[in-house]
Symmetry: C2
Subunit: 166 residues, 2 copies
């Protein structure tokens, strides 16, 4: 028999190949470093951090990197409209607190995490590890998954570059 060049597909189409390709990519392959402030800081410091680091969300943490809340740019819109003094406002007033935060983990497929971002209408997810802290289950923040990470992956896959890096 003549040797086959390339490979042979039985009934698979381009979309099922996209699905297969994408399903192997994990959050840890594309995540960014988290940008955090401590829970005792002011709302002003959180907004300055968000601006200087050029991120859409900052994570508010307790000692040990334990997730306490998330401040998004949308939270800042509310304060800007209200005309409150950010210096006098604790970050805890501005943030969305646990347990209302949608999270992901390093080994979750990017596709599942991207679906969480879309379905929950958020700009980013904290990447967390489940940990024990004084007997309670808590989330330790280890990364940040954003729509930018996903858009960049889309560009890389679309340009046929994803296979080299992932």
């Amino acid at each position: 028999a003549r040797p086959k060049v390339g490979y042979f597909y039985t009934g698979k189409n381009a979309l099922s190949m996209v699905t297969e390709q994408v399903s192997r990519i994990k959050v840890q392959d594309i995540q960014s470093v988290p940008v955090v402030v401590t829970s005792g800081t002011s709302a002003y410091d959180a907004v300055v951090t968000m601006f200087l680091e050029d991120v859409g969300s900052v994570f508010v943490v307790e000692p040990g990197g334990i997730l306490a809340g998330v401040v998004s740019r949308k939270d800042v819109l509310k304060v800007a409209m209200g005309g409150s003094d950010l210096h006098k406002m604790p970050v805890k007033v501005l943030m969305t607190p646990m347990p209302k935060i949608v999270v992901t983990s390093p080994d979750e497929p990017v596709l599942t995490a991207a679906k969480k971002i879309i379905d929950n209408e958020v700009d980013s997810l904290p990447v967390v590890l489940l940990a024990n802290h004084q007997g309670a289950k808590v989330y330790e923040v280890v990364g940040r998954l954003t729509k930018t990470n996903i858009a960049r992956l889309f560009v890389e896959l679309g340009e046929g570059r994803g296979g080299e890096q992932l």
Copy 2:
């Protein structure tokens, strides 16, 4: 010879198929409706519109839907830090004005537009048509392409649903 089932690939890999699949998708296939304010409005009205419509950017237009500027959430961060009174500030002070705005068009490939979003570090692009206005070349705003549109497309393609809708 035995009839072939499915189809036969010579040297093509999954990534080149992703590229082919994605390269056929245009901006108009996934764009959102634009959210606009007029150039005579206040910065406060632009921020309220941004909040109520739950968008990351509003486009500032002259009569006829001609693009004059873009206000992003990042612009609002600056004002929130500075403590300026949004009511007294014209939107023109807050916005990024033309010609500094990166735009896309309905028939541009999504991949090219997504690359513009990543490379220019913006959250969205106005989708525009080139028009003549009193002898000058101007952009008429017809849509909005956001990182959310791209993340949603990524999820749809990854789940093998893109082919039905696009």
